[in-house]
């Protein structure tokens, strides 16, 4: 774990500070690498015992679409990883309602259970964060 966390000893360096982190995903998977590399940061963040939320808005909602099959494009299908997040105690996944509906999707189309928030609710959630990292 020390290698993946950059050699940081969590007990010493995080010194009990718990911040609210939001990872905001607004980009579709595969077309660019942002979605995949965002997920890699999220997994590492689990080691720091922070208050982590994942936000999916705009094309970021497509990251959670069921049925991704990447064999023919020759890329790694990373959508199963979203289902593994629970095992890392990352359980706060939020989808913006407007973005989901504008793409003809419902929660049944998504690989993981999420909480659907209106734009206004999302605005409040984002406003409450200490650190917002967007990819």
């Amino acid at each position: 774990m020390t290698e993946s966390t950059g050699g940081i000893d969590m007990d010493e360096d995080s010194s009990g500070t718990v911040k609210k982190f939001a990872f905001v995903n607004r980009k579709a998977p595969y077309g660019t690498i942002y979605a995949l590399e965002s997920l890699e940061v999220v997994l590492i963040s689990a080691a720091f015992d922070q208050d982590v939320s994942l936000v999916f808005a705009d094309d970021g909602v497509y990251e959670l679409k069921k049925g991704q099959a990447t064999k023919a494009v020759g890329m790694k299908n990373f959508s199963p990883t979203y289902r593994a997040l629970e095992g890392y105690d990352i359980e706060k996944l939020f989808v913006e309602k407007e973005s989901m509906e504008a793409r003809g999707l419902t929660v049944d189309d998504l690989v993981v259970p999420v909480e659907v928030l209106t734009s206004e609710e999302m605005a409040t959630l984002l406003d409450e964060q200490d650190v917002v990292l967007s990819f």
């Binding site: 966390t5 911040k19 590492i44 080691a47 650190v131």
Partner: protein, 119 residues
């Protein structure tokens, strides 16, 4: 105030690396501290010493190195993103170091504000 900076795009291709630099420079001049600049995604390409822009263009890589030298700014390149793109210790410019993604999360915890520059 203590700032963390995240750079997600390579130099020259996108203005993000320039804006991040101008922001960091202004922050230092105003007496703030830069806790760390973390280079992720194609941002890792800011760290290669093989960069040779035309003489009449700014040298983005050297600019970072100089900032590290003059102000002790910690320039960290993500190891996983770097390996994907061929950025390793052998071609690292002065002032940069390679480390894990945990350094980004740690900056988020330690810095008063973390500002992202990207596409």
């Amino acid at each position: 105030m203590k700032f963390g900076i995240l750079v997600n795009e390579g130099p020259y291709n996108h203005q993000a690396a320039d804006t991040a630099y101008q922001f960091a420079k202004a922050a230092l001049e105003k007496g703030h501290e830069i806790h760390r600049v973390f280079f992720y995604h194609d941002g890792v390409n800011n760290a290669t010493k093989l960069t040779e822009p035309p003489q009449d263009d700014r040298h983005i890589v050297n600019r970072w190195s100089k900032m590290a030298e003059e102000h002790g700014v910690d320039l960290v390149v993500c190891v996983a993103a770097g390996l994907r793109r061929g950025i390793v210790d052998d071609n690292l410019a002065p002032g940069f170091r390679i480390s894990g993604l945990g350094q980004l999360v740690e900056t988020g915890i330690q810095a008063d504000r973390t500002v992202t520059f990207g596409d």
